[in-house]
């Protein structure tokens, strides 16, 4: 039951974030928003590059090992890998990375402000914490999660292509064929990236705003943020994949 209440509070926080956005939060908090864009985006680049690059390398390597035993030719590997990367790997892996790296940071920052009474001080100054703290982080996460997903997908695909070309002598043209990729695949991937980009900061900010106690409480809030944000990514992946198969891809 408490999980349901927590979900309800998360939805209320999402509603308030939109409300403050329409009231000009990003204009008022433009400096915070710019800093958050940098924090979420630029500072995640190395993590995304390494993780998606290694994932692309290993995935293509393993697939080609298996395909080599069954099929005589590899022409379908590249297009299928690119399709899977766009539909699934890029948004979900990038989402999980942002959930851990950025989600923990948001929860720790807001949680520290709660336990040091800075959030109370904001309220006394007639400044709403959602306006000041949540909305800029929310939109920075949404924008950068989409951009990092596109970037991470490209890195993964290029890394996979290098393995295919140099280890199995598959031509660049054959690997980079977009014969299996359609507009619905791109829409599905971007839909997931946007949804994760919304869910992660809300889960993290909620954990931060509900921090109790001292530094121990901040630690617990950080853990809760990472767990909830990662859980949100996985559940949304399941739901949006189902939606995509039913309404975007037609018969799989």
């Amino acid at each position: 039951m408490s999980q349901l209440y927590a979900f309800g509070r998360a939805l209320a926080l999402l509603r308030d974030t939109w409300k403050w956005t329409f009231r000009g939060s990003l204009r008022r908090q433009s400096k915070v928003f710019a800093r958050q864009l940098y924090e979420v985006g630029n500072r995640s680049l190395l993590f995304i590059t390494v993780t998606l690059g290694v994932l692309g390398t290993i995935s293509v390597f393993q697939v080609l090992l298996q395909v080599e035993r069954i099929l005589p030719e590899f022409s379908v590997v590249g297009p299928a890998f690119i399709q899977t990367m766009i539909r699934e790997f890029a948004p979900t892996i990038a989402g999980l990375i942002i959930a851990t790296r950025v989600g923990s940071g948001i929860a720790a920052e807001i949680g520290s402000m709660v336990v040091t009474e800075q959030v109370d001080a904001l309220r006394l100054c007639n400044a709403n914490p959602v306006d000041y703290l949540v909305a800029p982080r929310f939109w920075a996460c949404v924008i950068q999660n989409v951009l990092l997903t596109v970037y991470g997908g490209l890195v993964g695909i290029c890394a996979g292509a290098c393995v295919a070309h140099y280890a199995w002598q598959i031509s660049w043209g054959s690997f980079f064929s977009l014969s299996l990729v359609g507009f619905p695949d791109v829409i599905s991937g971007l839909l997931k990236a946007t949804a994760y980009g919304m869910a992660i900061p809300i889960a993290a900010a909620q954990a931060g705003l509900e921090t109790t106690g001292g530094s121990e409480g901040v630690g617990a809030a950080t853990t809760r943020a990472v767990v909830n944000a990662s859980f949100a990514v996985v559940v949304l992946d399941f739901l949006l994949s189902g939606f995509s198969f039913l309404f975007l891809f037609g018969n799989p």
């Binding site: 040091t116 009474e117 800075q118 109370d120 001080a121 309220r123 006394l124 100054c125 007639n126 400044a127």
Partner: protein
């Protein structure tokens, strides 16, 4: 005038306030004392809507503020400022921006005008030269001064000081005491001071209320506090670790 009427508050199974009633007259300086965890800060936070009571009612000039919404509390917070225990300056803002924030949000001043006024306010606490610095660049005592400047920037009628002299050197603490007294004497500001500092109590307070086990154990002038024979209050005044006083468990 501030009235707390039969206020109770619990966190989980821990009853922090139990049927607390207290009146603060206009222009008065009330010191609320008690051991750590006695519920002093919890009580005063109810006045500005940072906490909501489980039972009881709170009045500010006969206006019942107990169940006001967050938005309805804005005008109350304009009249009733609070200096927090740990200063609580915003790390990402300069000292001037910290002091300017209430001016911008409550009075709707533009950023530049608010910062000019903020520097003037900082000058009153001897901090104008540091206006462009960040809270992390200065020590606790100076941060406290800036927090006081921020709280007074809207010329409030009521000010809550949560342990204002904790962590300050004796000179800085004496300055804060002087300031609290001057606010009352010169401007008629009503102050509620949460404190452990016996020196400040005897120097500044008009009245003292001691919270113990969620209830008001003593409520009277400093002379009555000093003369009391209540063994718990005596133990507190004399700072003896042994005695009848039971220390509250952690909430």
């Amino acid at each position: 005038m501030i009235r707390f009427e039969h206020v109770s508050k619990a966190f989980g199974s821990h009853q922090v306030l139990d049927d607390v009633s207290l009146v603060v007259e206009r222009g008065e300086i009330l010191f609320i004392i008690g051991t750590s965890g006695a519920g002093k800060s919890v009580l005063v936070k109810h006045l500005v809507g940072l906490l909501r009571p489980d039972a009881g009612r709170i009045f500010l000039d006969d206006v019942d503020v107990t169940s006001l919404s967050e938005r309805e509390f804005y005008p109350i917070r304009k009249r009733c400022a609070m200096v927090f225990q740990h200063s609580t300056l915003f790390d990402s803002m300069t000292l001037a921006q910290n002091v300017a924030l209430p001016l911008r949000k409550h009075k709707g001043l533009r950023a530049q005008a608010a910062e000019v006024e903020a520097v003037r306010r900082l000058d009153q606490v001897g901090m104008a030269a540091e206006a462009a610095r960040f809270p992390s660049d200065i020590g606790d005592g100076l941060r406290k001064r800036v927090a006081i400047a921020r709280a007074l920037t809207l010329d409030p009628e009521y000010v809550i000081f949560d342990e204002p002299t904790t962590g300050l050197d004796p000179m800085a603490a004496a300055n804060v005491d002087q300031l609290i007294r001057a606010l009352s004497d010169d401007f008629g500001v009503t102050s509620i001071v949460v404190s452990h500092d016996l020196r400040s109590i005897f120097k500044v307070a008009d009245r003292v209320a001691m919270l113990y086990q969620g209830k008001v154990l003593l409520d009277g002038p400093p002379s009555a506090f000093r003369a009391t024979t209540d063994p718990v209050v005596r133990q507190f005044i004399e700072g003896r670790p042994e005695g009848p006083m039971q220390f509250p468990r952690k909430a």
